[in-house]
Symmetry: D3
Subunit: 158 residues, 6 copies
């Protein structure tokens, strides 16, 4: 197990030097979920057309959140991301919404933080829109599913 | 169960009118966690002094994240927050870090989204700083513990 | 006709001192439009359910744009806005979309810039989403319809 | 007429994948105008040296607005823009100010949104600086004059 | 000498709780300077009308910088500032530009960081605009001249 | 001595066209300092472990400040920076903290503004964290030490 790359030999935080890394195509996918009461789940999914599109708003917030990653995460490099998709799928067994986000770039560092931030922002937005009826919702299961394109090779969650 | 306040009668998203609500003191506390491999947990907690202060960086990111809430969450009102604290506590049983955030304001709407965003940003920052050694970490258990000071009364998680 | 308040006696730009103005409830409404080819109009309005909700995305962008006003307009005061609504209505006679935005605050200065910025951002977002099929769209008619609540009294467009 | 690229086959909004498009030199020019009362026009143009440089402030706001495009327009890609110019020309026949903006980049997608956002922000800034004397000003005629450098070829407004 | 208020009893950074402090009118003034070669000074001051208004651009950047203070300074509270002025005065004895900024608010905490950030941003902008002819310029003398309106009383630099 | 590149032939501000410049590896280092009373210096340096890590917070603020450069400096190009380090060293002879920042990129324009902004933001953050005990601190000596990698060649401060 190697060390913590975000600190130098003296333990001081820094933004890692990636200037010698080649520009390669990179992709990352992350997932997460928002668990809610069955009544809340029914309200969101049945009401999607008539009462307001919670999923549509959360999807857009997730896409815009991905672009804010280097502002939110202190040591993250700014990256010209070339694709973001965010999907929210109702799952009655949860009950709640399952969220996945995929981000691509051509750059010198990976985009897993962008994918995680997209998922996280979409989940927070679901909470915001539904909190008037259910304050006990829980956001969880946020993790990287896939990361590929860099020197450290392909990572797939097991 | 009432309706979704963030949509009007036609189902269109809007920023809810809070101009008739009184300005009151409001507080909210949220929590969450980052689960990691035991070796990763050891690296972070033992190395805190020498190898780099992951917890200190994540705490600061969480505080700054709370201030970014109205930029991230589309229908959130901007609020002059008057206090933010973020705590990250190592828990060997997880193993990982438990995160709590408390936010206060005097305003016309609550600060639970600010507390949730602080927790979420701190958790993402932990992932970013440690991902070179552990890509399989999982962020979860993000929920509101306490909300008080508004018309809807006190909420405490059970 | 009085002078330009955003400049001092020497002609230097400044952010006007509003600290002696009372905090009052303020409201402003602005409007604008996006004109497009008839085929484009048909594509947007017919396809709203199936092909993608241009209006829903633009509405959200307008609401979030209102919050960005003090970052965009150099001498604008930051304000805790308490309500934003943005409506986009298809008008086959234009043909195109008519946009209105209403913003409220309790503050020391008006919110007409926030309403104008909401309209303008929604219009730009419509252009962005539809430009692949129609680059000749034109944004226009952006003006203040109503402003009320401040010392200068009520303004209504004629 | 092709479809709406900003939505997938299910009609969900996404940030279009441009990772396979080549990096090419791109340019876009947009225009717009602010119409005002003759007295307002006289105040701005005569007073430019003595009473305050409305045009200079609006030009700078337009340039900075171009850089904010990916934050304002939800599905816009972030781009390293390499040039921005904004010109505001007094036109006594309008009467008012004519605005043009030109933006360049080397990238995988065009910069017409950046040029439109620059024009729009400059126009809003003119309104803000002059609104104390003329609330009835109207912003209009915002459109793309020229776009070149991408796969879809050169576009010139007729 | 009291302790460091931005850390709690365990030495952890936090945003200080100001929710019990009264809302009072607050003002702060800060100053600073940019020293440059005599030829550079001549170029800026002589060319102000013809060659470009360095001072006008820097003033606007300083005003906008004041609004960005809570984004830049991690533990700073967001505040609805009610006035910002930034002045840049050529001083042939320096030679260079002397900068002062004054900021006002009605709030629960002071605005000296906003005044310092305005001065600092204006100074950096001067450097940026002139660096093509003089890379050896030095920014210095940045300090608070006056702070008033809070519990800790009036401070004036000696 | 050449002219002011940030203005065109008419003296209007613009963002310089760098689209024809080659993409090269660029580096810049800047420095600065915060002078304080001897008692303040003792408080910060002795208390580093127990009372709160002023230097750690300021370092992080400096790194994040570097990423905000194109938002703060009106005519600065956005750049994908590839490295940022910020060091703060206690100097008992000052007494105070000496700050240096180094920034790298592969791009079409230099990063000295990013390095200066990092130093400046770190210095302002030190002031913010310590101002409760010492309002008379002074920030100064902010200048470029090294710039290399562009057409204009290597610059080293004397």
């Amino acid at each position: 197990m190697s060390g913590l790359t975000h600190f130098d030999a003296q333990g001081n935080a820094h933004m890692v030097d990636v200037s010698d890394k080649p520009v390669t195509d990179r992709i990352a996918t992350a997932e997460g979920q928002v668990k809610m009461a069955p009544e809340t789940f029914a309200l969101i999914t049945e009401g999607r057309a008539k009462k307001g599109d919670v999923i549509g708003v959360a999807r857009l917030a997730g896409i815009m959140g991905a672009k804010k990653t280097p502002e939110l995460i202190p040591l993250c490099h700014p990256l010209p991301i070339t694709k973001v998709t965010v999907d929210l799928t109702p799952d009655p067994d949860l009950p709640g919404l399952r969220i996945t986000a995929t981000v691509k770039t051509s750059g010198q560092t990976g985009v897993e933080m962008e994918a995680l931030t997209a998922v996280s922002t979409a989940a927070l937005t679901v909470y915001d829109m539904v909190k008037a009826v259910d304050k006990a919702m829980e956001i969880g299961g946020i993790r990287v599913l896939l990361k590929d394109g860099g020197k450290s090779g392909r990572f797939e969650a097991t």
